[in-house]
Amino acid sequence: MIPAPFDYHRPGTLDEAIGLLTRHGPDAKVLAGGMSLLPALKLRLGTCGHLVDIGRIPGLEYVKEDGGTLRIGAGTRQCVLAQSEIIHSRYGVLADAVPLIADPLVRNRGTFGGNVANGDPANDCPAIVIALGAELVARGRQGERTVAANRFYKDLFVTALAPDEILTEIRIPLPPPRSGSAYRKLKRKTGDYAAAAAAVQVTLDARGAVQRACIALTNAGPTPIEAVQAARFLEGKAPDEKNIAEAARLAASAAAPSADRRGSVEYKREMARVLTARALKAALERAGGN
């Protein structure tokens, strides 16, 4: 399969890239790893007049902790992120999820930022950045701004990014003490999107009750779904089986999946429930181990 014709640009700096996006408006698309965009162009699910390849722009690949914030450069390859000791030490949800994105060959090209900014609710990283309470840094011709991850996703493939903006960094607040996070995903095979998946982060108070919880679901609607009601239910309560089960039930009721080859609406909602409960248990265990 061959994509429809387009012009290819390889800017050397972010400013040049933003200039190209400004000039070509919605007819331009940002190419990073290309693992979602190129298949979409080949299948002609989309077309674009101009591809702006940001893959060679220096300074977009890093993973570093800096004054209570984990900063991940948007161009960081998924294979590199998976090897990062930082994520294994404090960001269990990332350590769980990154090795489950697509397959190893795709992760050699695919970037973390691309997975976040693509706007596909079937991608794993959107639910994760929501669960971690991340801020997404966008740069455009007006300068830089940040958008909270849970306000970033507007609709299927529609994000808060303007046509001239590029996601440059993902900022994740350092989880407080007694925090844990986890990702649980059901997929039919390596390389498949999730039939259902849940990303959670919890923080316990000094008495061992849940102080704060955040739950987000992958591939459960047109955008990643933040299960706010489920999280609020848990807060202030003991993290026991009964409360976990009720939170998982509430999370599943927030899911609005559509039926496809991965299963019926009922099946996917039920799997969202099961996976939320499992992710909560894993995260709570990690929180207790801090």
Binding site: I2, Y8, G34, M35, L38, L41, K42, V106, N108, R109
Partner: protein
């Protein structure tokens, strides 16, 4: 829109003028006539088009030729040197790690890259590494055995 690219393929410098939308796999097969790299699903699932881009296995059906500008590309044709098969190729023969052979070029590239960075991979590491390459004949068992055999051979453990 045409672009001048310079790519080193199996050690040989190649200069070409390519269309923006030309895929790396088409450049390799149709422009360079290196048809050892196959096309399978054409949607970045099956991995038969795997080549090494600067040493890393990637699916060349999902990379633009112009993205490879300035990079080193290795294909299955580059595995043997001086008429001598690469240990992973010998191991695939020895351990009967193929039947129809369609996935083999991609599988060989992924396995050779694994052995470059991990001299003695465990069964689990091998299975993980090849999880983006589909084989419908072997059930993977003999492929895993072949990688283990090649690792031993490369370490000097098998004569």
């Amino acid at each position: 829109m045409k672009h001048k690219i310079n790519v080193t393929v199996n050690g040989a410098a190649q200069a070409a003028e390519v269309d923006s939308r030309l895929l790396l796999v088409h450049f390799i097969r149709e422009e360079l006539r290196l048809t050892g790299t196959h096309i399978g699903c054409d949607t970045s699932h099956c991995g038969v088009c795997t080549v090494l881009l600067d040493g890393q296995p990637v699916k060349s059906c999902t990379v633009l030729a112009v993205q490879a500008d300035g990079c080193k590309v290795s294909t299955v044709e580059g595995l043997e040197s001086g008429g001598k098969l690469h240990p992973i190729q010998e191991a695939f023969t020895e351990k009967h790690a193929l039947q129809c052979g369609y996935c083999t070029p991609g599988m060989l590239m992924t396995c050779s890259a694994l052995l470059e960075r991990n001299k003695s991979p465990s069964e689990q590491q091998i299975r993980q590494a090849i999880s983006g390459n589909l084989c419908r004949c072997t059930g993977y068992l003999n492929i895993v055995k072949a990688v283990e055999y090649a690792a031993q051979k490369m370490a000097g453990g098998v004569s």
